[in-house]
Amino acid sequence: MFTVILIMSIGIMCGYFIRKRDIRGIISGATTALIWLLLFVLGIEVGHNKQVVNSLATLGVEALFIAVVCLCGSCVAAWILWRYIAKRRED
């Protein structure tokens, strides 16, 4: 599981060593292509799995619910930080 994180760290080091050369165009192109490929493959897996296809509506409702609750949680946290900073400024 930590293979992936190790590979990302190696990537950061490689990117740092060749930072004199601007390769951001190539990298963002490759990143986009890989994301397309991986989501296409994820789609095929979903499509093949009859159980998932049949419960797609339920999964969607669960997904939306998790999104809304997480979003509200992060906004409340941001509001707390905002209040704290504003109060410190008044003092």
Binding site: R19, L39, A63
Partner: protein
């Protein structure tokens, strides 16, 4: 927004191919997606290491505002904990893994599919796309109810690219650097937090 539509398009195309058996799933077994995931993470890493400007620009931020990514992460995880109480079919680590996508739907759904299976991967994809879309559509409301930091927190890992324009528009131009910094840190935390919650 356009690039998000293309990405979702690929997912839908794949789903249709799967449903109608156009491409056999056996082609993609044997770890192809894992190698592609490794290649993707390498590219993400190179992109971070290769950018000479990002780190330098962050020095101008006020110290207290740099706490925002931490608040976003804690708030989201608290929300995920609440969600797991309501959704009895999903465990706490599962909800937290989905929440830890922070609207970065491509990477988080790929990770979760790899470690937890297609079903939760699909939830992660739909959930994190929803989070991005809600942020894009509701940014003015979020500013009104929760202050100017709220759209940045709700945008999660996307605040340095896709949701940056709406944040600048509704929170103000002075939040642009904070927004990029926030996206950078939260983005970086996604692989760590998602793998962590998947391993529980």
């Amino acid at each position: 927004m356009k690039s998000s539509i293309v990405i979702v398009g690929f997912f839908i195309l794949g789903t249709l191919c799967g449903v109608f058996d156009i491409l056999p799933a056996e082609w993609f077994e044997g770890g192809v997606s894992f190698y592609a995931l490794c290649a993707l993470m390498f590219c993400v890493g190179v992109g971070i290491g290769n950018d000479p400007h990002t780190v330098r620009n962050f020095r101008s931020l006020s110290v207290r505002l740099t706490l925002l990514p931490l608040f976003t992460i804690l708030g989201t995880l608290a929300g995920a904990a609440v969600a797991s109480l309501v959704l009895t079919t999903r465990s706490l680590p599962e909800c937290m893994a989905v929440g830890s996508g922070f609207a970065y739907y491509s990477l988080s759904s790929i990770f979760i599919t790899e470690y937890k299976g297609v079903e939760l991967g699909t939830i992660a994809l739909l959930s994190n796309i929803s989070r991005e879309i809600i942020t894009l559509l509701c940014a003015p409301l979020l500013v009104r109810f929760f202050g100017p930091l709220a759209p940045i927190a709700s945008g999660g890992a996307t605040t340095m690219d896709t949701t940056l324009p709406v944040i600048i528009r509704y929170s103000g131009r002075e939040y642009a650097i904070l927004s990029i910094f926030h996206g950078f840190i939260v983005d970086f935390s996604v692989p760590f937090l998602v793998t962590f919650f998947c391993s529980l």
